[in-house]
Symmetry: D2
Subunit: 347 residues, 4 copies
Amino acid sequence: MDAQPTQTPERAAYYDKIAPGNLAPLWENLKALVTPEPVSPCQPFRWRYAEVREHLMEAGRLITAKEAERRVLMLENPGLRGQASVTHSLYAGLQLILPGEVAPAHRHTQSALRFVIEGDGAYTAVDGEKTLMREGDFVITPNWTWHDHGNDSDRPMVWLDGLDIPLVRLLDASFAETWPEDRQPLSRPVGDSPARFGEGLLPIDWRPDAKTSPVFNYPYERSRAALEKLRETRDWDPCHGLKLRYINPASGDWAMPTIGTCLQLLPKGFTSAPYQSTDGTVYTAVEGAGRVTIGNETFDFGAKDVFVVPSWHRLQFDVDEDTVLFSYSDRPVQEKLDLWRERRGNA
Amino acid sequence: MDAQPTQTPERAAYYDKIAPGNLAPLWENLKALVTPEPVSPCQPFRWRYAEVREHLMEAGRLITAKEAERRVLMLENPGLRGQASVTHSLYAGLQLILPGEVAPAHRHTQSALRFVIEGDGAYTAVDGEKTLMREGDFVITPNWTWHDHGNDSDRPMVWLDGLDIPLVRLLDASFAETWPEDRQPLSRPVGDSPARFGEGLLPIDWRPDAKTSPVFNYPYERSRAALEKLRETRDWDPCHGLKLRYINPASGDWAMPTIGTCLQLLPKGFTSAPYQSTDGTVYTAVEGAGRVTIGNETFDFGAKDVFVVPSWHRLQFDVDEDTVLFSYSDRPVQEKLDLWRERRGNA
Amino acid sequence: MDAQPTQTPERAAYYDKIAPGNLAPLWENLKALVTPEPVSPCQPFRWRYAEVREHLMEAGRLITAKEAERRVLMLENPGLRGQASVTHSLYAGLQLILPGEVAPAHRHTQSALRFVIEGDGAYTAVDGEKTLMREGDFVITPNWTWHDHGNDSDRPMVWLDGLDIPLVRLLDASFAETWPEDRQPLSRPVGDSPARFGEGLLPIDWRPDAKTSPVFNYPYERSRAALEKLRETRDWDPCHGLKLRYINPASGDWAMPTIGTCLQLLPKGFTSAPYQSTDGTVYTAVEGAGRVTIGNETFDFGAKDVFVVPSWHRLQFDVDEDTVLFSYSDRPVQEKLDLWRERRGNA
Amino acid sequence: MDAQPTQTPERAAYYDKIAPGNLAPLWENLKALVTPEPVSPCQPFRWRYAEVREHLMEAGRLITAKEAERRVLMLENPGLRGQASVTHSLYAGLQLILPGEVAPAHRHTQSALRFVIEGDGAYTAVDGEKTLMREGDFVITPNWTWHDHGNDSDRPMVWLDGLDIPLVRLLDASFAETWPEDRQPLSRPVGDSPARFGEGLLPIDWRPDAKTSPVFNYPYERSRAALEKLRETRDWDPCHGLKLRYINPASGDWAMPTIGTCLQLLPKGFTSAPYQSTDGTVYTAVEGAGRVTIGNETFDFGAKDVFVVPSWHRLQFDVDEDTVLFSYSDRPVQEKLDLWRERRGNA
């Protein structure tokens, strides 16, 4: 896979001749298609929350949640402008819901995660059940479930949306429907799913009919306490600090089939060993501050900032305070397809 | 998801203002991103083998297999020119190996299938083991296995290549290496894998280390005989006739993690009921002749022709002779991700 | 399978002749071996805790936990005396640990569950980690893990032991070892496993090496609160009331591979519909009181009593108060082997 | 687990006092229940086929297949007489069907395997489909499937029956029914299942509803050829020679959920390294002759002889000719329950 074939006039003429038949020579493209290492169009980038927040608040004045259906500023990767992509396969956005607003009920085959950046007391309803959202909560609206959001608090609510839009687009598998009213009817009390599925037990005769976790809210209070407990062992991974992945307790698999989500703790003063993996990843800091080096670029970041690490870019953290990072990527997809790889250190 | 938000000068100015920060309004794009039904850029198309073969033979004169590394004419979807894609997520090509030629050894994370269209006696070697190829054989070169092809017969050999190139591209997960010599060394006799893994038994202490089937050649003789046996029950599926999927006997799953492959028999005079599914599919006829209606277009086809059915396009067959079709799609991916859907009949 | 073969002198002589060769006629035994419905040697029985407790306390005076290794009164099924069996495949016992005592560290291939009946503050240590035990807690000492118990409180501690001793005996798969000292060394803090595995997350690089849940204490406080939350939906199963099974969050399977464990709530005044299943089951009431009819026998029961329901015996509850039942059986084994059946109502 | 507790008159009196309450002291039994290594009641034994055959033929004169329902001589382990057990958990018998006879249709939850010892042309029908049986064929009658056997040839037919009778007995899970007539009606042609499920393909919309392989006949011709092909690599396992396990191609798991079946080749002159495993195993030689040492006993054996290796007994082969062994055990059960162990060599 080294040398390109020679270009000759005869060959060029041949390529022109076959083109109308929807034919093209692989040999002119093989090196670009099958690369020795990932060559991603994505670029590293960091969005400062303070700046995006200002724009979001202006959006709050320009359009209602209802008219927008979803009042979201997409975080577009600089290498993929116009494609609604933050990594090659995934989407990110920051969604604002003002007090009293509703983002109307719909459903779609795209899976969505919400990670709460700011605010307390808005809700997401999923297939007849509401959950209340607080900072740091990880909430799922699974593939093809009815969902609407509302803000009954007196403060703006902002969360990070992560969806598999580019992946579903490549698979040509988008379906969507709107509910006739803004809010779907509720059939179960708040807290039903966490009790039913999230306490180490499952209903005796329940069988999952989907791969997404039936626990659709993972409260930060619980996840953060788990990290805090585990730091007692001081068993820090050189690349990850202390890193947990959210799971579907009905299978032990990732909480979502298309998007892998993690929460990790880097202790004050920690400098991580270099790390590469094939899953382009979006991060947001819940707590803390520091610097992240992605490939050849270094960004400083603080709480609520968002940054993206493209596939196979060398990643290194260096933090000044105890730092908690939420992240998401397409790792579950790559694992299911035998494609995921990582490299630790400088090997 | 009905009305688009109103366009106003104020909003337009706002969009311009936020664009440099790699931000964009979701609400201007939501309808295009999350569609009520799949809206594929792919178009239906049929390649007549007789025409492509002529071009292939000319390619045989213009470039050697060795210089080309792989002398393949890509079958590009008319809706996706320049993207090495036959469906949105998959690739197709027709590869020619002339007598005495070798396509040199390499490996890559892209998975490949070969379905033999013409010829008898060329070989594929995979990780130290050769298999001989005949018309109708389905051969796999799994993800990251060394493979080379050669033709020791006295006739040209042509096969259909199916790869997951666009999918691996979206996932930014391409790795590739070349072997220092044209042919890799062989460590096991011809026929070892079929005996070891393909006769209803597995070695007592063997554990699979990959999701792809260890049986890397599924000979047509066996597959065709299975179809012929099953026709005795006359248990025709209205949409599919008699349709079997190739499996990995170590898991019962599809033979390949990223590409689903099937062989089906439509009996003489059969008209199928309409069928739609979300997995855009490539077909080639091994035997027989007839017409296929894909969406609003009807194509006639005969043996060795190739055609592509984009996602969610209405598909209907009408055959004049006993017809055997080989097909491949990304259905295993969609199933793993809870995205696959089908619709039967006019419902 | 209706008539037995005729007995004749000639046949009797033949049976005598072949017996020394370790041969016997199936046809004289077939009806007894392959029965139309389960014919269990087990009988229904109820142990009143008040009575057993008195015996246990006497045992506390007769032998130390250390000399006994485990000071346990086995609950033997009246139909299986001398076989250490409470159902045909499982074992039950009530274990007493007095203040200051230790049950020394050992490990064995038999899996064990502990369900705390009385007391607060004893501990179980499993592979280097202690857990504190309270009434209603369900604690696992998985297959081949080092475990010891101790009571640092000032009250006697009693729990129900459930093991798969008869099953492991049939499989001839018993291994056991003792630790050189009474207490194993501790390597992780109290609470590590629940945080690591039981909060909806798993360590990013952890892979289970066993089928038993890594969460080895399921505190009653959490399980009971889940039941209480779910009663809000008033969605009572006619046979089970509200019944949850303890799971392994790393797989979604039962918490233990050989023993299935459940917690269920029957609301005050509930009369259950008749129910039969092939898994002989041991119950203990954590709260409440009522009557249980097992086959043709009715027993009254109160908190801490234990009763056993043999395979395929008709089971019916009738409770006077809100009643919480813990139960265990070999259902996971039967499910894995395609043997488990249930029948609801009088069908 | 070393010293037994001291026996005292006071303790003895206590044991007597608690016995009527179905209570017994664990501490008097612990060492016997939880043993350091498996202590099986099974003993090694070899049945010479020539001797059993003579008895079988006499049985053929004493009782018809129809009156017997199944004319089988049970091979009872000398250590488990009267229990219909060849190992602790499994059953073995030799079944005779004379020309023109039928063993009438019934079904039961016990799973059965048939391994053909002698004869050619008898059939087994399973849920509406017949299969013809030849020497060395491995045939399954899965759990709860209707099955009858008949002999339309002109020679006696003898096969080895392997069932999970003792295991199903321990689980109290036996169900059985008889079909109103001797032969069940046939709904599919001979050869349907092998074509449908056994050629590396599965019907596109078929989903298994049971754990047993849908391929219910594994012909010796195919299995033996696989072994012969694999000997080319000369890759002999020191303990096993060349050993394959029969699988369910729909899952890659063992062909039956309760009984593991294998076929292995020991080349002429081969002496195996010592081997122990926890699954008591029944062997029969299809071809060849040699000696087998089981624990401290050595038996010579030839084709068609049957012998049993109890759990954890040291096993060693020494063969004079190319020897092919069929074997079965409860290994799939032990694996599912995390109980299976092996030890290689003298370690």
